[in-house]
Symmetry: C2
Subunit: 243 residues, 2 copies
DNA sequence: GAGTGGTCTAGACCACTAG
DNA sequence: TAGTGGTCTAGACCACTCC
């Protein structure tokens, strides 16, 4: 199976990668599952093991799969602790563990504004779920954030499901609603606290806060969540790496 | 050449990678140069082309090398326009090109504080170069930053060399002083403008600003620059990607 | 056409994990 | 010991660039 006749040439391993992505999107293998072995996949797709390998390499580089020598290749999951820190970029000035307490302040339904609809590729007025929550570190309120989700993707999501869930929101989403957040883009600005925010974050109005807007994507670059967070950066900072 | 006898097994391609890194560190190939072809390197190191290939793959993934099909493999350089946006994460709210004007406000020598010395792995009191500059976008001052450099690495650096140089500072550093910035870590906080900053950024004192501290590294994870920037985020935002 | 990186294959063998 | 991913090789051929 070695046909590549230009023009518009598409490498075999890229095609295999697409097939594997289809399996991930379609739920054939779910977060935490092992996918078939390289030899098995090579036989299934009638290509050499090396070609499957290269496809998997790229998916692993994209953080969609995790290879474990001797054990197999697994679908990446927000259940693994190290993954959480890829999405929560806040770290304490003084080292030490980050044990966050989450307090759900509000849970409601709303209609998508023109702007929200545009970002999430929905129609204006589409039904959405909005939740407001507070993150506290050792009792100190540090993050106030609002999360917007398309209601269609999270049918049956309730406030108590969130408060009772242990672990990250993204873990709940992937285990209960089959939506895995794969990557996100954030836009940061500095902003002064308004009265209500100041009260919730236990600081004076006008205090400088870090505003973080996040658009999260699932497989295939489909946007499925929008967040706006206000971070108190008195004893924490946002870490960014420039490669 | 296929000896790998555990324990403390180190793959051949990792060793080749180290050898290539030595060449980069030592200046055998300079930014913009082509390195020898894969076949040539395979012959030099007595390994197969595939092994060299894997070493180069990793260096390319680290943004140290750039592959160009049909032409060769080149040492990454800050001269290429697309690289600049890997380090300047500020983008305008309304799209459009980012043409920044740079104004050097101050150029002086100083001694490393204990904190600076710790970060840059120097000794307290070591000689340093400090420059303060303003970045303007379409005439509007947006970034005020202070850059700390070990004087030993940048002998002969003058204010006029900086003001006369076209292109990014990092481009000047790599072409004139042989120090290429490979990656950086940034810590972000929100902060209120003090009187002097407010004046320079044309805003009122107390205005919320984004504070960005950057530690930049050259080959081999050696820290060689520390920066502190204050960003006006009224019409610009800092972009971050969570993989 | 010559030279470069890019793809694909087939096979051998090593390192790691688990039963 | 069997099965998995990881390394390494040798060789064939393709795509791209430049002369």
């Amino acid at each position: 199976m070695t046909f590549m006749t230009s023009p518009s040439f598409r490498p075999l391993y890229k095609q295999i990668k697409e097939l594997l992505l289809d399996g991930l999107r379609g739920g054939e293998w779910r977060p935490g599952d092992a996918i078939p072995s390289e030899i098995e996949l090579a036989a299934r797709y009638r290509v050499s093991q090396g070609t499957v390998r290269k496809a998997i390499d790229e998916l692993a580089a994209d953080n969609l799969l995790v290879r474990r020598q001797g054990k197999g290749t697994f679908v990446a999951s927000h259940g693994e602790p190290q993954v959480r820190f890829r999405f929560l970029r806040l770290a304490p000035d003084a080292g030490g563990p980050v044990a966050a307490e989450r307090k759900l302040l509000d849970f409601r339904r709303a209609r998508a504004s023109a702007e929200t609809a545009r970002l999430l590729e929905l129609r204006t007025g589409d039904s959405m779920i909005v939740l407001t929550r507070l993150l506290l570190f050792s009792g100190d309120p540090v993050v106030l954030e609002e999360v917007w989700l398309p209601a269609g993707l999270f049918r049956g999501l309730t406030a108590s499901a969130i408060t009772e869930h242990k672990g990250a929101l993204y873990n709940l989403f992937e285990t209960q609603y089959g939506t895995r957040m794969v990557r996100a883009e954030e836009k940061l600005k500095a902003r002064s606290a308004d009265d209500e925010t100041a009260k919730l974050l236990a600081l004076e109005p006008g205090h400088a806060l870090l505003e973080v807007e996040r658009l999260s994507y699932t497989y295939g670059d489909r946007p499925v969540e929008w967040r706006r967070g206000l971070y108190k950066t008195d004893r924490h900072f946002y870490r960014s790496e420039l490669g």
